[in-house]
């Protein structure tokens, strides 16, 4: 068999590619070899929630720098390995398996969406790794995946019980119309399961209860839905959507002259939504927002915001989101667990160390979060303070304070 120059160059190219691949993906050294405390994170740095994922990444990088500059954790360096799930459930589950198996992390922060959590949380139980979502708020997602699944968030059903009475009283709402993003799990839960019931409890009629209006993630044209909404003549509108989709609905409402107050869930909270239709009041619950008064929240915003604004691919006016605060708090809780349990990261102790982190989270009481103390309930959801905020004329302002735990926060 003879080789032509072309075949030789191809062989050389294949060898070069193989060498590059090996160099790019070296075997993962154990934590003890590198003296590292390893934490994993799953965020959507691409896809429809890329903004949240990218700010989460910068938040975690900042935390990693802060901790290591202060001497690390128990003398070991903190290493946060971050994977992008693009808000895709299967990708989130695969990332969790990789973090648990290949990267041998102690615990994981993420995934962000409820859709991803519903698929990734069972993997947390299989692999025995504490996994805490920074954003999922669809009812029951952590409760269905005990004991390793947690959410540093408040269930939307709990939030609606405070936000709806405020909405109803403030604007004298007697009737509402509902529109929602049918492709998003938490948006669908808010619009189809939570809000109709809570509105009824508060004496508000849902005018299209038998024919809820929906659209799909990514659709720009919601003119037909808004025309139908307008024909119902509602006093208020419920938007079940994340802020990027809600912008489309608000703009269409403004175009068609439907300028009634709007209410939704936590996914509405963002600075972008404030410029969509500034004259339309938007009511939503939040556990954190960038302009809140608490000193710890202000300090967090002061150090993170310049980093976010200096990052390419993020809007120049971006502010830290509730989910940045939640993921920052989550990793701080893990660090506290490592410190209090005296975890060293030695080989052979990983399984025991993971159990210690889980037990620490399960029994956590009054952890000092950015907006107040945080504990975890038996459901795996956080017991923390939340705020009903109203966005209008370009700014959010706090209107009510609530607590997700029966005994108060």
């Amino acid at each position: 068999m003879t080789w032509s120059p072309l075949q030789n160059s191809r062989a050389a190219m294949i060898a070069a590619v193989a060498a590059f691949a090996l160099a790019s993906f070296p075997p993962t050294p154990s934590a003890a070899q590198t003296g590292e405390i390893r934490i994993g994170a799953i965020v959507p740095s691409s896809g429809p929630f890329a903004e949240w994922g990218r700010t989460n990444t910068i938040t975690l990088q900042m935390l990693e720098e802060e901790v290591n500059a202060a001497g690390g954790v128990n003398g070991a360096k903190l290493k946060i390995t971050i994977y992008d799930d693009a808000a895709k459930p299967a990708q989130a589950a695969n990332s969790l398996r990789k973090l648990a198996g290949d990267d041998q992390v102690l615990a994981v922060a993420g995934p962000l969406t409820s859709s991803a959590c519903e698929v990734a949380f069972p993997v947390a139980n299989q692999t025995g790794v504490t996994t805490t979502s920074q954003a999922s708020s669809k009812p029951g997602v952590a409760a269905a995946n005990r004991p390793w699944a947690f959410r540093n968030t408040v269930d939307e059903a709990v939030l609606a019980k405070v936000s709806v009475p405020y909405f109803q009283k403030t604007f004298g709402i007697k009737s509402v119309g509902i529109i929602y993003d049918a492709k998003d799990a938490v948006s669908t839960a808010i619009a189809t399961r939570i809000m109709p019931g809570v509105m009824k409890e508060n004496g508000v009629q849902v005018l299209n209860a038998d024919n809820l209006l929906s659209f799909n993630t990514g659709e720009l044209d919601v003119s037909a839905q808004v025309t139908t909404l307008k024909s119902l003549n509602p006093a208020g509108v419920i938007i079940g959507a994340d802020y990027s989709q809600a912008v489309t609905v608000l703009r269409e409402m403004k175009r068609q002259g439907l300028t009634v107050p709007v209410i939704g869930g936590t996914p509405l909270i963002s600075s972008a939504i404030l410029s969509a239709a500034p004259e339309i009041p938007v009511v939503a619950p939040a556990t954190f927002y960038a302009t809140m008064d608490q000193a710890s929240a202000k300090a967090f915003v002061a150090k993170l915001q310049p980093r976010l604004r200096a990052s390419s691919g993020l809007p120049p006016e971006i502010e830290p989101s509730m989910y940045d605060a939640n993921i920052y708090e989550t990793v701080q809780m893990y660090i506290e667990a490592v410190k209090s349990a005296g975890i060293s990261g030695k080989p052979g102790e990983l399984e025991a160390a993971r159990t210690k982190v889980r037990d620490h989270m399960t029994n956590l009481k009054n952890f000092q979060g950015l907006a107040g103390p945080i504990s975890f309930q038996p459901t795996g959801d956080a017991a923390k303070a939340f705020y009903i905020v109203q966005g209008q004329n370009g700014a959010w302002s706090t209107k009510e304070r609530g607590c997700s735990a029966a005994g108060g926060c």
């Binding site: 890329a50 929906s214 990514g218 720009l220 003119s223 037909a224 139908t228 024909s231 403004k254």
Partner: protein, 292 residues
Amino acid sequence: MFLQQLVNGLTLGAVYTLVALSFSLVMGILGILNLAIAELFMIGGFVGFSLLVSGYPIPVALGAGMLAAGLFAIVIERVAYRPLRDAPLVTPMLSTLGFSIILQNIATNYWGSDPLQLPGYFLATRFEAGGVQIGAMQLVVLAATIILVGLLALLVRRTKIGRALRAIAENRDVARSLGVSANQLTMVAFLLSGLLAGAAGVLVGMHYTAITPYVGVDTGLKAIAVMVVGGVTNIWGALLAGPIIGIAEVMTVAYGGSQLRDFIVYGIMILILLIRPQGLLGEARAEWSQRV
């Protein structure tokens, strides 16, 4: 409400028509489905949008959006189509699909995933008659659609390039023997489709006053349905099918339930494929796999 929904349906149909024209230009001439067109539409929209937000006038934004999409279309032709034109039919289609994902990633990395919004005054000008409202930008989209379809029809029917494109579509071997340059004409077809997609992106962005990197997928799929319903070989087919699909979608939302709209839109497409595969205005063609 019916008349208002009719206006909504016509505007939505105009949007689909503009994108469908881009698809049918390449499909009609080359017999391949360039799946990256949906993202050229998005890229054109973002470029135009960025300029509008920076204060440039509409004609500059429109021209820049068209130019950007046209340039990307040429890159797609050279990188994703030309090297693969002798491969099985599905191969260039898959490579354009790959390119569409790359373009979406470029947009997400450069502009971010947050919706880019135009100032409120783009929404301000509205006309009302008999309880029916129509925005100034809706009228612009409707007028631009009719003008662009007319110009494209003129180009294909009356110009030297158009005749060459039709010759290639009819019989590439005979066209080549008569001196028509297949490579050059393929590039022209891609360029024209890119320019159209870019124009559609800017116009649609101005109409909705918001744009995201994910706008191409849904609009692109509906535009393919419009192309199939109208007939791939007839440019006027898209002008007929766009409003049919747009109005069907809007009326389903208004009177049938919004969850049914995709069922109706793609149901119409499948029905047409079953009973009149060449589309409403298309001509039956024996050899669909013909490519340059």
